[in-house]
């Protein structure tokens, strides 16, 4: 087995034998950028959907009215895209630390990309359905 180490700060694999140097840092940069965006997006999401709402959840009619606001709709969809991206990138980083072959790593990337696109497509469909009830 290849010897491996994990940088606890970045979560990146620090492969011995110079592999770390070959792996670009884009994964970490993207994770940090999407992470900061998620922090902003989720704060508004949690406050608007749960903390200022009586009983902490909107009822059916209230959800439709709320999501029909274009600013809210765009905010929630951007949140969905960014949080899905961040989460799946994180899962990818965890999986990559198991030291799979480059071919398997490419498969993982493709599979997670499909999952991410499907989740966002589902969210857009659901948003369209909900707003159409308004």
């Amino acid at each position: 087995m290849r010897e491996r180490a994990v940088d606890p700060e970045t979560g990146r694999s620090a492969w011995k034998g110079g592999r770390e140097a070959e792996r670009p840092a884009w994964g970490w940069i993207l994770q940090a950028v999407t992470g900061v965006l998620v922090l902003i997006l989720i704060t508004v999401h949690m406050v608007a959907n749960h903390f200022i709402v009586s009983r902490g959840l909107r009822d059916y009619r209230d959800v439709i009215a709320y999501l029909s606001n274009p600013i809210v709709m765009v905010w929630e969809l951007v949140f969905l895209i960014v949080v899905t991206w961040h989460g799946l990138l994180g899962l990818r980083a965890v999986l990559f630390d198991f030291g799979f072959s480059p071919r398997t790593e490419r498969r993982i990337t493709r599979l997670l990309s499909v999952v991410g696109v499907a989740a966002v497509a589902y969210g857009m469909w659901l948003t369209a359905v909900i707003v159409s009830r308004g």
Partner: protein
Amino acid sequence: MSERATGAGPGLDFRARGERVSPRRRGAWGWVDVRGRRLGQWAFILNRLTGLGLLVYLFLHLGVLSMLAVGPGAWDGFVSTALTPAFLALDVVLIFGLLFHGLNGLRITLVGLGLVVNRQQALFVALMVFGAIALLIAGLRIFAVG
């Protein structure tokens, strides 16, 4: 022994001086092996566990929202279920995960950008104190609902 070989980045030396950390790596399950860990490594493990938990929650959450497509009966029925004490307790677990992962991630980002590298233990403690207060307030509000 290099910092890299111990699995710790520079500026992350939370351990007491002189404590030995094995340079041997721990195989594929290394990141959940808790032996001989320092605070930064605990933060790393908890960051991953909360991250994986939140990813599972994200997909559960998206699934539950499909009740909105079913109709008012399905959704409003779910809302009643979600207000039971068991669900409210899970909400507190969720808020813990969000706060820990978010605030620890903020620390990692700030340190990764080269900011507050020398004060990162203080930063970590400050963020966690903030998180604990936020969790307490959220928990009180959540159970005030139930």
